[in-house]
């Protein structure tokens, strides 16, 4: 992970993450950016369950382009609030979206058009605060948003970057197609014979993928269908600790800055309490051709 972030996420980059909404959030990638002290990032995503809050609190972020930033089961994002209200640790620019409009902004970039029209956001003040969304001729036009890099965590991938993700996908596809590059982190690194046995399940074209990181537990505390439940207690603990600047900084030291990598982090988690044990296998699909 350290190498992937070093090579593909420079200071000032526009980074899309948390694209499947609550599941499959690439926390390990975000923590690595924090350890490498990235600055002036623009974060792009739909709802960002605590990951954006952490990067904002760590001072890595210049702008957020998102529909919602907070902690889904606990409420407000305390670092997000401090940055917007008091400029702590630094001022933050916010480009407000709805879930639908951030999806459209990414589809516009994916399709290489300047904007896409929608009926969503008519009558909303989001039109007043986001310079990239305007109302014209009875429709709302959402300007394209192109990430430099999209980072997705998936259940399994091969070394060529073919990622199998399952469960709800949120805006992962449009973000990956819109981005100039994609980094994949995965629970399991598998042989190409596994991914290519089911090409419908491949999330994005391999031509977009510049890095594959085998990072078990890389989405913790978010859930990974078939692997891990959501660690609700961890989110609650984070919400409590991040209420004050001092509490957040101590949390960051304990869980990010003072941790060398994801495998050391996972040694401190009670993995047995969140591991999914019972399989629920899909029926195989027959790709027979002769």
């Amino acid at each position: 992970m350290a190498e992937a972030i070093e090579r593909f996420v420079p200071d000032g980059a526009t980074v899309a993450m948390g694209l499947a909404l609550e599941p499959l959030i690439p926390f390990a990638a975000g923590h690595e950016m924090t350890r490498q002290r990235r600055r002036d990032l623009e974060l792009v995503g739909p709802i960002s369950d605590a990951l954006f809050d952490q990067l904002i609190g760590a001072g890595c972020v210049r702008r957020v382009t998102a529909a919602w930033v907070g902690n889904v089961s606990e409420g407000l994002g305390h670092c997000y609030r401090r940055a917007c209200e008091h400029g702590i640790p630094r001022p933050l620019e916010v480009h407000d979206h709805s879930n639908f409009s951030i999806s459209l902004a990414l589809w516009a970039a994916a399709w290489n058009v300047p904007s896409l029209p929608t009926r969503a956001l008519l009558g909303s003040d989001i039109l007043r605060t986001n310079p990239g969304i305007e109302s014209k001729d009875g429709l709302v036009h959402v300007d394209a948003v192109q990430p430099d890099v999209a980072i997705v965590h998936v259940q399994r991938a091969d070394a060529m970057g073919r990622a199998h993700a399952w469960g709800p996908l949120g805006i992962s596809e449009e973000a990956g197609l819109a981005a100039k590059r994609v980094i994949v982190s995965c629970e399991e690194l598998v042989d190409a014979s596994v991914t290519l046995s089911d090409p419908n399940r491949i999330l994005l074209p391999e031509t977009k993928v510049v890095g594959v990181v085998h990072e078990p537990g890389g989405a913790h505390p978010s859930p990974v269908q078939g692997y891990f439940r959501r660690d609700h207690a961890f989110y609650r603990h984070y919400a409590e600790r991040s209420r004050s600047v001092e509490g957040f900084n101590a949390w960051l030291e304990e869980w990010v800055m003072g941790v060398s990598d994801r495998s050391s982090y996972m040694k401190r988690i009670d993995v047995d309490s969140i591991r999914i044990r019972h399989q629920r296998l899909a029926a195989p699909a027959d790709f027979g051709d002769e």
Partner: protein, 251 residues
Amino acid sequence: MVAVASREIHDGDLVFVGMRLPVLAYAVARNSHAPTARGLFEVGLMRDQPAGGFLGTMGDPPNVAGALWATRMSNVMALMAQGEVDLGFIGGAEVDRFGNLNTSYVGDPRRPTVKLPGSGGGADIAILSRRWVTLISHERRRLVEKVAFITSPGHGDGSPGWRKRNGLLGGGPVAVITTLAVLRFPEEGGEVCVATVHPGHTVDEVLENTGWDLKVSRDVSETSAPTEAELAAIRRFDPDGFWTRSSVTKG
């Protein structure tokens, strides 16, 4: 609050469920009076049966197992953009007399007193679903004369036909369900009015905790207490009271 919210779901409805308390309201409805309702989740899911286990978010594994459809968000939004969603739920930090919701900024957006999390799917539901309901804690600072920022438009300035004139697809908010009462809008939109007051509370208490001169329906009555079936469903889907005990503070 959850039992009352669940009653807004009619049998056969396609419900845009969203996050938090509505997840529980959907489970309660489905297990009492609305056995053929379907739920949509913006994460990219459609379900009939509520999830078998506790949900902290709509994306938790029990909500995916047994789903009718697991897909991308824009596909779910396509159904709503076609007017196929009968009912949506939206939480809010501030609501005004015309049902406009603020989940973005308290104070000047350029220098807010409070930065709230944002729209999520709220603005989309408010504009595109056929009807919707707000769940909110009943406090003067939350039920305000005029919201500082309209994240999710209700009936706008309250004038007749405001939504249609501005091109908004759905019919807008039908009710505001609070911790004290159920407030309802007239069928044609406009200004909200006290319809029922929850057991143990009074009309005066409702008025005192509202930031404008709230209208009271001529035939105001008491909100029906939760039925045995509703309570049983709440206990089943929220066994530790994660949502029902602290629902007020999680708004």
